[in-house]
Symmetry: C2
Subunit: 343 residues, 2 copies
């Protein structure tokens, strides 16, 4: 068995010298290198921005969605949406562990969730068993490879596989909120009625304590179910692609103070300006949404003369898997809701 590069560059076919994530095509041959592991994949959790794009492109037709997913994987060797660039993650069982794989606690048969994006994970799909359009999850028969540097989490005993998968998909978001939000602050979660949004809202309120946590959410249903969780101070039903409207609403609620921290968790384009306008001078916008445009954010802030810090949502930060799973353990209401939505 040959030793591969820790970051998986040995599997990049095109362009040469690139890393697997930005690469156009990677090698999904399922014979492992000595520092890789082989997984029997059970379920893919497609990234929300990607799945929304796929559903739209396929007129929500299940057969077309299936073909589109298979075509992407055949062409690229990985499930990377060519439009959004994003992937998702997976759960599966460990089939084989290379001798040089560093984590010696991992055993064949362990159930794990990958914490690196499908947009860089070598994947082979034999068959698609079921597409769940509501949970963004796709059950398959297939295999995948994890590189030496690839992050993963063992599926916990006390939380079901599908629920773990759903939460771990967005684990970076609440963990970053934990690093950013301080007591007494005004915080706004845009798209706070969605999966990552609810987790962020919970964590934001925990950290902001006496501060104010506001959620902007598009649909009445998501807003209602969020209100029932009793975790935030205000829920605004509004369209985040309409910055002037959002700005006026947040001015009202905060008495023109605006927000110290804004977290963007939507799955649609063109919400950068809303996020920027409602942020205080020297405040922070954390863009977790994969539909964020770099130039729209950079030039948008300059265009309105806002001296704010804009952060690119890194899906990884230390301890993110535990922190997000613990939210389910702490909040029965969130756990019950997520069990209804994602299992």
């Amino acid at each position: 068995m040959k030793l591969g590069n820790p970051y998986g560059t040995h599997r990049v076919i095109e362009p040469k010298g690139a890393l697997p994530q930005p690469a156009k095509k990677i090698n999904n041959d399922m014979n492992i290198y000595s520092n890789e592991i082989l997984l029997n994949v059970k379920t893919l959790n497609v990234d929300s921005a990607s799945f929304t794009q796929i559903k739209n492109a396929c007129d929500n037709d299940e057969k077309k969605i299936e073909n589109m997913i298979l075509n992407i994987v055949n062409e690229r060797g990985k499930l990377q949406n060519p439009v959004t660039g994003s992937g998702g993650m997976l759960i599966g069982e460990v089939l084989e562990i290379g001798d040089d794989f560093p984590d010696k606690d991992l055993c064949v048969g362990d159930k794990i969730a990958t914490l690196v994006s499908l947009s860089l994970t070598p994947l082979k799909i034999d068959r698609i068993l079921k597409i769940n359009k509501d949970t963004d999850q796709v059950d398959i028969i297939g295999k995948a490879i994890l590189f030496e540097s690839g992050l993963y989490a063992k599926i916990p005993e006390d939380i079901s596989e599908k629920l773990s998968l759903a939460v771990l998909d967005v684990a970076g978001a609440p963990a970053q909120v934990n690093k950013l939000v301080k007591d007494g602050q005004n915080v706004c979660i845009i798209g706070g009625g969605g999966k990552s949004g609810v987790l962020c809202a919970y964590q934001a309120k925990k950290n902001a304590k006496n501060g104010k946590v506001i959620v902007v959410e598009y649909s009445k249903e998501n807003a209602e179910r969020l209100k029932k969780l009793d975790i935030v101070d205000e829920v605004v039903v509004a369209d985040a692609t309409k910055p002037v409207d959002i700005y006026e609403k947040i001015c009202d609620i905060t008495k023109n103070e605006l927000c110290d921290v804004v977290i963007n968790n939507v799955n649609v384009e063109n919400t950068e300006m809303s996020s920027i306008l409602i942020t205080k001078d020297e405040g922070i916008v954390y863009f977790f949404s994969m539909a964020t445009s770099f130039t729209k954010a950079a030039l948008g802030a300059e265009g309105v003369g806002k001296d704010i810090n804009m952060i690119i949502g890194n899906g990884y930060t230390k301890n993110h898997a535990d922190l997000s799973l613990n939210i389910l353990r702490e909040s029965n209401k969130i756990r019950n809701l997520f069990e209804k939505l994602y299992i």
Copy 2:
């Protein structure tokens, strides 16, 4: 005279409710609202990422470049490159000031540089006089509008117009470096031989003092002229689109410590992974380059398990115009070089 929205939304034609920067088309009628000012434009400084794209699309042919610029402005009412989304800035003379424009010190006849992007500035070009492919500057006969929230700087007495324009175009970059870099740190400037790169390198060394400032630069010429300025500790000639090569070189120079702060100032795509790989755990990457892809950065960092902070380069921060012009006043060597390159 009617009062316009401070952010210029009254001029957005499509899509409704958007702000001028993300808008597809804005109204470039040159009758001002009462909180706008009208400018007689002399020179456009096209954003480097945009100009590179335009030059490539036009096979570097001057007539084609001219037509492409005119077509963009005719179609959009502003000089926003449809591929990169970016613009640039301009210098001109104040022709008319609306009664409700807030800055009462500004006078008709003043020479100013706009500090908001051309990607949101209503512009009308009567004629293109000269395209300077080396400086990214385009002399025109034409007019532009600045909104109430639009930032600008008066052209200083002691620095020529063209040189001011060149430096103010990238003023955000060294000012952000000033906020991020601390004494003793390892700092790497990727694309540090270019315009914003040189200013960032100077500011980084000023702040890092006993730390180490490393520049990665593509061309030998730019590397040589940078070395002659004597402002940095190491200059590496390498291609930042090749992350593995860059990583190995920076490991060597820093004895595997890597960098506390990485500033990305290139004008080409696919340099996110190089920036990420050479950053220390919990370090900072500041992406000033307009060719940055949000998803490549977000998923790339997760993909290699890097717990780092990635910042979107906001073109504005307080006092950025003065800070960057002062670099020319402090360093004769940089001033002489920039006078050769940009006048």
